[in-house]
């Protein structure tokens, strides 16, 4: 019995950042890296299933939680956090050719990992906090041809069961309760649980657990499957838009009010 959890190390902007020379991303020095917030929840969900008291006979096999991430070696730090929080094993896929992949190409890699690992469930976060495509998980399901569901906010799943029941929140306060056949891909929403804290000691101790690094070849993929060649989209540029306008209106109250009315009319005119 195995749950595969796909995680991502996301980047957040530091103060006074600068853009990369090619203008398609931020200079890496100005990025603070951390595990994607959504992935904290999907990992917790998997670990909770692992830790739940075992159902009565027939004695189910122990649950193994495996985390996987696509990225260079700085990602190990986030993987170690996952190991500290209760994942049993960590996999990291990397090859220089993966650079420049979009979410579809990453999904292709993850699908190859899923085929290799053959889990009973694959969890991913709904989206990543830096790119917010919200497509990697579902695209992975498409490559695998597995049943899938997005934005899961409640899950009941007994390890080893043939199906799982989950709930999703819909517009207007509706809840959607769905049964899904396993193996399936679920993208997990924030708030589904309370992710645990990984103490620094546990992270340090997790350094003893191995992180297996896989190459494209290990997964039966070639460089044409990833990178810009394997992607359906390409970043043209990344930039800070021009600042919105702000002006100080001078004069006494009557003058200020008159000017304000003028501005409002201008905007209304523009909208009409």
């Amino acid at each position: 019995m195995k749950i595969l959890v796909a995680v991502k190390q996301v980047a957040a902007l530091d103060e006074d950042f600068e853009m990369r020379d090619d203008g398609r991303d931020v200079e890496p020095d100005f990025l603070l890296r951390d595990l994607n917030e959504w992935d904290d929840f999907s990992l917790e969900e998997a670990v909770k299933i692992k830790e739940a008291p075992p159902a009565p006979a027939p004695a189910p096999a122990p649950v193994e939680v495996v985390v996987v991430s696509v990225g260079a070696d700085e990602v190990d730090e986030s993987l170690r956090k996952c190991l500290a929080k209760g994942a049993d094993r960590a996999l990291r896929v990397w090859d220089a050719a993966i650079e420049g992949s979009d979410s579809i190409a990453i999904a292709r890699v993850l699908a190859a990992v899923a085929k290799r690992e053959a889990p009973d469930m694959l969890f991913a976060g709904v989206q990543s906090s830096d790119q917010s495509f919200a497509s990697t998980g579902i695209a992975t399901a498409a490559f695998l041809g597995w049943p899938h569901a997005a934005v899961v906010s409640n899950l009941s799943y007994a390890p080893g069961a043939k199906s799982a029941v989950f709930r999703r929140e819909l517009e207007g306060g509706l809840l959607h309760e769905v049964e899904i056949q396993c193996p399936a891909v679920l993208t997990i929403q924030l708030g589904i649980n309370t992710p645990r804290y990984a103490s620094l000691r546990s992270i340090k101790q997790a350094a003893a657990k191995p992180i297996e690094v896989l190459s494209l070849a290990d997964l039966g993929l070639g460089s044409a499957d990833v990178g810009e060649a394997g992607s359906l989209s390409r970043v043209r540029r990344m930039y800070v838009p021009d600042k919105g306008r702000a002006q100080l209106i001078a004069g006494d109250v009557a003058q200020q009010a008159a000017r304000l009315a003028e501005i409002i009319k201008e905007f209304k005119g523009a909208a009409a």
Partner: protein, 706 residues
């Protein structure tokens, strides 16, 4: 037999040989029970974790003896209890020594070597002293009974803030019964001793060597006169003496046998606890050895033997209970009850022949003897409990070690989790970019040196609050200007500095503390400076007391001592004396933790302020509630906050103008409490640095651009 030989203590006279044998048998029995009890207790302590004590045994013994003989720790903040205990203690010790010397002569020296000293003048003087000791003992006991029975001191109320009425261990009536039984047994032993003495005199009134020297036992003699007046004859005296002798003897033997099993054992455990006291118990928390898998205390046996001994030393005096700021505002924590719970737990699990399985040793939870996480998280590690405990119980390391386990399990407030993650990520609790750490200094008209790039005399360790909190940044800017004007060559570490870790460690996140301490020690070690100064007492404490364990031995002072020196050296001059009526709040980490009581007060005097102390000041200062990481966790809504409790205390000072603090967190906590207690407009909260600025106006008004 000469005349002086005849003047001696009458022991077994008139007893049959069988009776004497029976008494010896019972005596040995009592001693055997006592020894067995001691063995069980020591075995219990040895089931705790190992600990090596620093320092020589004799120095420790000497320190213990000084505390015990002077009763210094017992008399603090409760002179009456101290006085009464002194009477009981000295009375008991003398009476015990008297009895012991009789045994020494009668059972050892005389039969073996033929030495006798228990007669003549020596006996008479001793009998006088013992009579006085008996009076002292009884007087002390009567006062203690009055205190327990009539004074109804809240600190002697065993009702627990961490349990509700109806819980089996809510107010523990068995403790009350034990207290009274102890007092009564001692009183009965003392009183029967006197009646026995009187009866013996009546019985032996025909013997001049007894009767003529009777006034050397004045109480006994008085009682004898009384008994005779009531018609007691010599024969009657003999019978009474015989019966009472047995009664008195049996109770005394019973007491001896019971020592290791009852509160009487504090005679030994309190003394031992004082002997193993760590003067830096709260200031320097224990490291977690690399080899230890589990951080913190999960099982009772994770405490070391000294801590298990601490548990048994507690005399339930309630002083820590009274001093605790968390308890004062109704939080579910009393340091006394943490100790007593764990003691009960150790008693239930570690006193039998075999140690139960690990699952039964779990001290976390809500069951009897267990400590709930709400209790542990209520602690502000303010050290008020450790500081006042008369028997050197060290609560803070016990609480923090238990929290370490909670942190490992992630059993904490989600906001605290977030803060710890933030500190790990950014090195500060504000979640600001590392790069912005020194940004407050940009508002100054002069550059602040980067101590990483050039040598300085004084390295200023700024700390999180003084670096990032907007209100405290203003104070930092003022302090920088003062240093500059006084010609101090100083610099800061800019983004080389991280959160000092004092509070992270007290939360119980030891791994993160190690990361922070190591980072700071490395950053500081690669800078060149003569000494360190900080405006933050929390950073001050950990750098001073804890960084040495991480290889960082720096000379550090709090700004109050540096500022005072700048005044005495004439580098700062008061040109605008302040006439404010002020009160001063001792920050826990400056005052109690590091005994920095004087410098701030001297400064206030230098500035011309009139200082009116609050009732709770110096060692008894009342925590603002921010310690132990509690600044990151909001207090329960509706309930009073410690800072509000403190504000009310300050507000009762007539004509108060300024409530002076000398800690960034205090400024934040008390400015808030000033508003929420409705005292805004009546007086103001100010950082001492700001008062200095007022009294020492900037040389050019445009110098501080802030």
């Amino acid at each position: 037999m000469s005349r002086t030989d005849a003047v001696t203590r009458i022991l077994f006279e008139s007893f049959s040989a069988a009776e004497v044998r029976l008494f010896y048998l019972l005596g040995y029995g009592a001693i055997a029970v006592f020894c067995y009890g001691v063995y069980v207790q020591i075995r219990k302590y040895r089931r705790g974790a190992a600990l090596r004590l620093e320092g020589g045994v004799w120095a420790r013994f000497g320190a213990m003896l000084r505390s015990v003989l002077s009763h210094r720790t017992i008399a603090r903040r409760d002179a009456a209890a101290g006085g009464a205990h002194r009477l009981i203690f000295y009375g008991f010790v003398l009476l015990f020594a008297g009895t012991a010397t009789i045994t020494l002569e009668y059972d050892i020296l005389e039969p073996l070597f033929g030495i006798r000293f228990w007669h003549g003048g020596f006996y008479l003087i001793f009998s006088l002293i013992l009579d006085l000791a008996g009076v002292a003992l009884i007087a002390g006991l009567l006062f203690m009974m009055y205190r327990r029975g009539w004074l109804r001191l809240p600190k002697l109320d065993y009702a627990r803030p961490d349990r509700v009425p109806g819980d089996p261990d809510f107010d523990r009536p068995q403790y009350r019964r034990e207290d009274w039984a102890f007092l009564w047994i001692l009183l009965i032993i003392g009183a029967t001793g006197f009646v026995l003495e009187g009866a013996r005199l009546v019985w032996l009134q025909g013997r001049p060597e007894v009767w003529d020297t009777r006034w050397w036992s004045p109480i006994g003699a008085l009682l004898a006169q009384g008994m005779r007046a009531m018609g007691l004859t010599e024969q009657g005296g003999a019978v009474l003496r015989h019966g009472l002798w047995w009664f008195h003897g049996l109770i005394a033997l019973l007491l001896i046998a019971l020592i290791p099993f009852t509160k009487v054992k504090h005679i030994f455990t309190a003394a031992a606890s004082l002997m193993v006291r760590d003067p830096l118990a709260a200031q320097r928390l224990p490291r977690v050895p690399e080899s230890q898998v589990e951080a913190g205390a999960a099982k009772i046996t994770d405490f070391n033997w000294k801590q298990l001994l601490n548990l048994d030393a507690c005399t339930k005096c309630g002083r820590c209970h009274e001093a605790c700021p968390a308890r004062a505002v109704g939080a579910p924590l009393s340091p006394r009850d943490v100790i007593l719970s764990l003691r009960e737990f150790a008693h239930a699990t570690l006193e039998s022949g075999v140690v139960p399985a690990a699952a039964e040793l779990d001290i976390h939870g809500k069951g009897p003897g267990q400590v709930a996480m709400e209790t542990l998280w209520s602690c502000r590690t303010c050290m008020a409990c450790v500081e006042i405990c008369p028997v050197a119980v060290e609560h803070v390391p016990i609480i923090v070690q238990m929290r370490r386990k909670l942190v490992e399990d992630g059993a904490m407030d989600p906001l605290l989790t977030k803060t710890l993650q933030t500190i790990h990520k950014t090195g500060n609790s504000f979640g600001e970019s590392k790069r912005k750490r020194g940004a407050w200094s940009k508002a100054l008209p002069f550059p602040v040196k980067d101590a990483r790039k050039e040598p300085v005399d004084v390295l200023w360790f700024v700390g999180d609050y003084a670096s990032f909190d907007p209100r405290n940044q203003k104070v930092s800017q003022v302090f920088a200007s003062l240093l500059q004007e006084a010609g101090v060559d100083f610099g800061i570490l800019y983004d080389g500095e991280s959160n000092a870790g004092n509070d992270v460690r007290r939360v119980g996140e030891e791994g993160l503390y190690e990361v922070l301490a190591t980072a700071n020690v490395n950053a500081m070690s690669s800078a060149s400076f003569k000494s360190v100064v900080t405006t933050d007492p929390h950073s001050f404490n950990t750098i001073r007391n804890e960084y040495p364990d991480f290889g960082g031995k720096f000379e550090i002072e709090h700004y109050t001592t540096l500022a005072k020196r700048l005044f005495t050296e004439g580098r700062l001059k008061v040109t605008n004396p302040l006439k404010y009526r002020v009160t001063f709040h001792d920050p826990c980490h400056l005052g109690r933790f590091n005994k920095g009581y004087d410098a701030p007060r001297d400064l206030l005097a230098l500035l011309g302020c009139e200082l009116v102390e609050m009732g709770r000041c110096k060692a008894n200062s009342f925590c603002c509630g921010a310690g132990g990481g509690r600044i990151w966790v909001p207090d329960p809504v509706g309930a009073e906050k410690p800072a509000q409790n403190r504000m009310k205390e300050a507000a009762s000072i007539a004509g108060l103008e300024v409530y002076v603090v000398s800690c960034p967190k205090d400024l934040t906590m008390f400015e808030d409490a000033l508003k929420t207690t409705g005292n805004e407009g009546k007086f103001v909260v100010k950082e001492l640095i700001e008062l200095i600025r007022e009294a020492v106006p900037a040389r050019r008004t445009d110098e501080v651009a802030a």
